[in-house]
Subunit: 427 residues, 2 copies
């Protein structure tokens, strides 16, 4: 087995569906399956999106076969209607004639009966029986995967490869993929791949270019990272660092994690992929949080409450968009606003204090800024945002930043900075 | 020309990039180009995603050629580094050797100098000159498209097809696509396609299945819609209806728009693709809006203020997540909350009234509901949400709904219902 474990297992993903090809709906399955294959150590050769046309499907399958793949995963085209053709085309491709699976016919009939009882569907009894029969036609020698929705999946052995036929809706495809991994037919393909280990780090406040320098310096310092696959990605204002490696490179992978943790102690906040949202949720347990938002206008409140159970620590917030609201709702002196401007550290401080008092909270965060596109000045350009995070015990974190990007970027990033200020304040 | 205008022009999109294939970044270019092709009346045969490997690129190009496409658009792989190989592979595919374009070399040098002056990049002078030279190597007979970023694009004539080579970053690809459309080489391909006309309707509150029945009834009533391509899509809680048609079917397309407008007068709110956000923004001009949100926790405030210029009519909002905040911030009688529950039409009414008063506004909307996953009861299950929208003059719109889906769906949909209540209240 030691020899075969060095082999590369190759795969292709064939996404079918006119709606995906014409961009009416976005393909979620290709990227998701790609991630799963990466974890399993399977080399993905291509993702192909085609319409519901038998000739295009067949050409796609043949192309992947000629690329030498061991596994083809198809998504979509398993429904009851005439343009759902994947099973037929895969039967032709693998040279396995379709046969009626009577057990599956009964199962699908039961599902359709349940479905018809709860949903006003537009199928006559005859149409329904035909659909039922169609979905129970299975390539000879294929293994049927039980439906999650109404369509069964298929694992079909071909010449030197396996075709895994999965339904299009992601909530059906994902659990069925897990089911498929347990099939001996799939396991025989996958046991030749070496699963990759991985970890994810998250940073906030270190640019990607600085991280790239760090990686070079760590390498120059004597750590061999050539067997680690390191990808960095700027996602919603944070840098994600994914490190993937074979078990043999585990020591180097751990050494890299330690080296980055040392170099970026202030900005590396997650060592195992934990999100800032769950870190902040943990830090807020047993406390009570209030918010005062201006330019972010509810985005920080929405983000805090996106985590289930937020009602345990989130008292509430005010969105004081107008100056008058800042005065009426938070008691801010109009003279202070006139003296320093609504976007100023002074007003941010009063907003945080006002929120703390009004909500009788333990912790408060304020955000006031120029989201644009209008309203910028030379002194306070579009993107200028002031923050203050305080505790009732007198703790405080203050920031004034110029955030780049458009209105939407500035607002989203403001909420993110608020999350990170909370983390620094409470940890 | 009348004859050739009936031809089908076929195209394929070849997306290159290991980061896209491994789902580190999401492909935005395939769906975007698909939409543009649809508008031009070009039939897209497939989208293929491959890694930055010459053999895979070449196999993809050959596969598309064998599918009989007239146009291949490639995205990505045009950068200065060794794994940016698209121009080389396309040169091989079209049988056109690479030659140095000296004018382009000078242009790119100027761009690189500007870039180096403003960005700490990690290229030696030699590496930079090599990159410059590499990017100025052009297949013989190709037309060069001026760089938007640092990479030029290419239009390369092949045997019976044209390969359009575009850069990967969407902000470079999109303007360059528009530039490419002006090239005689592209126009010769595209003039054989008949551009589609289109319009988009938006509905809220009519299920897709009911719309499908309407379409059948309109057809049964004598309107020929067989030359219209009608796609319906449920997107973020609204139904989008896209109708595409050749100029010859314009009368039927207009008749369909009228028929749907008559049948769904209460739910069809947009006849030309206008969004609910801009409709509500228009209705709010000259007024002042206040919000009181509980389960949606700032999402409606964030949505209202996502529209630039919202400060002209948005006074502010309160997120009263706890019962105490409802009392402290909005003056709601704790006895009322105890008698009816925080999620009740009675409390929704007081929240709206309280917001109107506190912010001295003309219009107010309140939202209070059970977002889940916990907190549901038999009487008030997860997804039960109460709304009230009022004007200072005494206008009112009230709703209590059970919204399906998970926590995130319920919260998002609550904000959307709030938008539509505002539309009904003010129009």
């Amino acid at each position: 087995m030691a020899e075969t474990s060095q082999e590369t297992v190759k795969a292709g993903i064939l996404v079918t569906g006119t709606e995906v090809l014409t961009a009416v709906i976005r393909d979620e399955n290709g990227p998701w399956l790609s991630g799963r294959m990466l974890e399993l150590g399977v080399e993905l050769v291509e993702i192909m999106v085609v319409a519901d046309r038998p000739a295009d499907l067949l050409a796609g399958l043949e192309h992947m076969k000629s690329a030498g793949v061991d596994l083809i995963v198809t998504t979509g085209g398993l429904g009851p209607t005439a343009d759902d053709l994947t099973a037929e085309v895969v039967a032709e491709f693998t040279g396995r004639p379709l046969k009626l699976d009577e057990g599956m016919e009964a199962k699908i009939a039961a599902i359709l009966r349940r479905y018809a009882a709860t949903t006003p569907i537009d199928l006559s009894v005859d149409a329904m029986l035909a659909a039922n029969r169609k979905q129970a036609m299975v390539p000879d020698g294929a293994v049927v995967l039980d439906p999650i929705g109404t369509a069964p999946g298929l694992a079909v052995p071909g010449e030197d490869l396996v075709v895994l036929v999965l339904p299009g809706p992601p909530r059906e495809l994902r659990p069925m993929w897990e089911d498929a991994l347990r099939l001996p037919m799939l396991q025989r393909v996958l046991e030749r791949a070496t699963p990759l280990l991985s970890y994810r780090l998250r940073m906030f406040g270190t640019p990607e270019s600085e991280l790239a320098s760090s990686l070079r310096e760590v390498e120059a310092g004597g750590l061999n990272i050539s067997n680690l696959e390191v990808t960095t990605c700027l996602r919603r204002g944070e840098v994600e660092i994914d490190v993937r490696y074979r078990p043999a490179a585990a020591a180097e992978a751990e050494a890299l994690r330690d080296a980055l943790a040392q170099r970026h102690a202030h900005t590396l906040f997650s060592f195992d992929g934990t999100t800032i949202d769950s870190i902040v949720a943990g830090l807020l347990q047993g406390r009570s949080l209030a918010l005062a938002e201006s330019c972010s206008a509810g985005l920080l409140a929405a983000r805090i409450t996106d985590t289930p159970g937020a009602s345990g620590y989130f008292a509430g917030g005010v969105v004081t968009y107008s100056n008058r609201a800042k005065t009426d709702l938070l008691g801010i002196d109009p003279g202070l606003i006139e003296a320093h401007g609504a976007v100023s550290p002074e007003v941010a401080r009063e907003m945080a204090t006002g929120a703390l008092e009004r909500f009788k909270a333990d912790v408060a965060v304020s955000i006031t800024g120029v989201a644009g596109p209008g309203g910028g000045t030379e002194e306070k350009p579009v993107g200028f945002v002031c923050f203050e995070a305080i505790t009732a015990e007198g703790g405080s974190q203050v920031r004034s930043l110029v955030i780049p990007g458009d209105r939407s970027d500035i607002r989203e990033r403001s909420a993110l900075v608020g999350m990170h200020l909370l983390r620094r304040l409470l940890s």
